[in-house]
Amino acid sequence: MTVDLSVGAAQGRASPAPNRHNARALETDARSERLRILGLSLPSLLLVTVLLLIPVGWLFGLSFVKRGAFSLDHYLRMVEHSSYLAIFQTTFSLSILVTVLCVLLGYPVAYLLAQLPRRWATIGMALVILPFWTSLLVRTYAWLVLLQRTGVINTTLISAGIIDEPLQLVHNYTGTVIGMTHIMLPFLILPLYASIKAIDTDYVRAAANLGASPTQAFLKIFLPLSLPGLIAGALLVFIICLGFYVTPQILGGGRVTTVSMKIQQNIGVYFDWGAGSALGVALLVFVGITFFVAHRLAGIERMFKG
């Protein structure tokens, strides 16, 4: 390195080459400086590597091993056994239903809050964000209390004369859907609100000026403009739903089994690392596919905003 530089300096006296040489030296210097700065991210990267990349890679390997030999049994079981198919079916139908409910309930909230005067919008957003910040376990517990046979919902409905017998609202699929929808709603509303807020309302006004009815202006102009934010939010909700464990475990009362619950059972109860890992890999593949679709449809950055 020193030799190289001195040669460059020697040549420099004779020709205009030094500029180029100095420029190159500066560039090397700048590059090593950039790498040094990038090194600041090493501790975080190391943690992610040791606690996530390596273990998940290892589990991926384990999923192809049975009794010490290579085997596809863990994956074949998923396709052949009806109980495993049922678990995937439950997980997907639950995720799709919760996502649809979140879109139907969340879109009007984001739409209206984005148009309200600042003070009212702030209050509305606070009502969305406070539950969002409340522990998932606490909210799940709250729904367990609210939905039980003697809970507030049932006693209110009975005293209002709407029903005679308490409804079975919890320890089943219904309770799981209610709890998960409650937990996921802010995940849809917050990014959607940000993207609706960014829509230039002049387009809608122009449509109205050109004779569109409010409904037409909404359907033809506003809705398409808000679609990227809606898709990003919905896919985010869907991805998180696919991996749900706590809420179906508590509110499902054993009648709902998701992939995550089966993974926990395989490893926490039976110590069957191969079977649990294979399910984990399958779950990861579905999540990866959804992320890819989200990226192609809406740009992945949207999912981390708001």
Binding site: L38, S41, W58, L127, L130, V138, T140, A208, W273
Partner: protein, 271 residues
């Protein structure tokens, strides 16, 4: 703030107001019901409570088990915030300052803990902790929670850095300050709000974590959420209503702090 895009009379959108109010009520309902319930004097949970008392709070504070778990959880949350914040700030600074082809790849890797299903992270961490003998240790809990918290800190601080003009740091360096000093004296004070938000996110992420704790936070180091989860599966213990109310108040306090911090930022004139 724009006015209504299409002037529709308020009464014609009454259904929209009603629907949105109903959804907001749905979102707030657990908080509105559980907090009053926790002050009930009854053996089972009732709403509204016929008789008010603090007995379930006493049952929480008098229980050695609950107190031990609370201490572990708070210690883990504080340590997680203390570790994840500097790590995340350093990573966010690096990703923001250096634009190489490698940078977006590193960014995605740092966001992975937020994208990979937490159950998979849980069994992965469990697997590696068995080899490293970190199962049921405070060190293990804090490291796993730090892993989950890093994406929050990185995202928050990067958004803080985006609205900060790096040339200010360059000026300080051209005047002779070393890079770290320029960062500490010029950049950090200006992005401190996003750093504080990131730290609070890290704290609450650790405090609320359940799934990884089920695998690696047992024994003497049973975290609060794990103990709650286990007693929830057996019966509905009203003590949990009291703990839940305390957690709700804690979240609300942190949320208000973040809002005050963030509000301070928005009140500052744009550079």
């Amino acid at each position: 703030m724009s006015a209504q895009p299409v002037p529709i009379p308020h009464w014609r959108r009454a259904w929209l107001y009603a629907l949105v109010s109903a959804v907001l009520l749905f979102l707030m309902m657990p908080i509105l019901i559980v907090v009053p319930m926790s002050f009930s004097n009854s053996e089972y949970l009732e709403f509204p409570p016929r008789e008010w008392s603090l007995r379930w709070y006493a049952s929480f504070f008098d229980s050695a088990e609950w107190m031990a778990s609370t201490r572990i959880s708070l210690a883990a949350a504080v340590l997680t915030a203390l570790i994840a914040t500097p790590l995340g700030v350093a990573a966010a600074y690096a990703l923001n300052a250096v634009r190489l082809r490698l940078t977006p790849v590193l960014q995605v890797i740092l966001l992975l803990p937020q994208m990979v299903p937490v159950i998979l992270i849980g069994i992965g961490v469990f697997y590696i902790y068995i080899q490293l003998q970190l199962v049921n240790t405070l060190t293990g809990i804090v490291l796993a929670h730090t892993l989950l918290a890093i994406p929050f800190v990185v995202v928050t601080v990067m958004s803080g850095l985006r609205s900060y003009d790096m040339t200010q740091e360059k000026v300080a360096r051209s005047l002779g300050a070393p890079r770290w000093k320029a960062f500490m004296l010029v950049t950090l004070p200006q992005i401190r709000l996003s750093v504080i938000s990131g730290a609070l996110f890290a704290f609450i992420t650790s405090l609320d974590e359940v799934v990884i704790g089920l695998f690696v936070a047992g024994g003497e180091n049973t975290v609060l959420t794990r103990r709650m989860f286990q007693s929830l599966r057996d019966q509905i213990d009203p003590t949990i209503a009291a703990i839940s109310s305390l957690l709700i108040i804690l979240s609300a306090t942190i949320l208000v702090s973040v809002a005050v911090v963030g509000g301070g930022r928005s009140r500052q004139p744009a550079p």
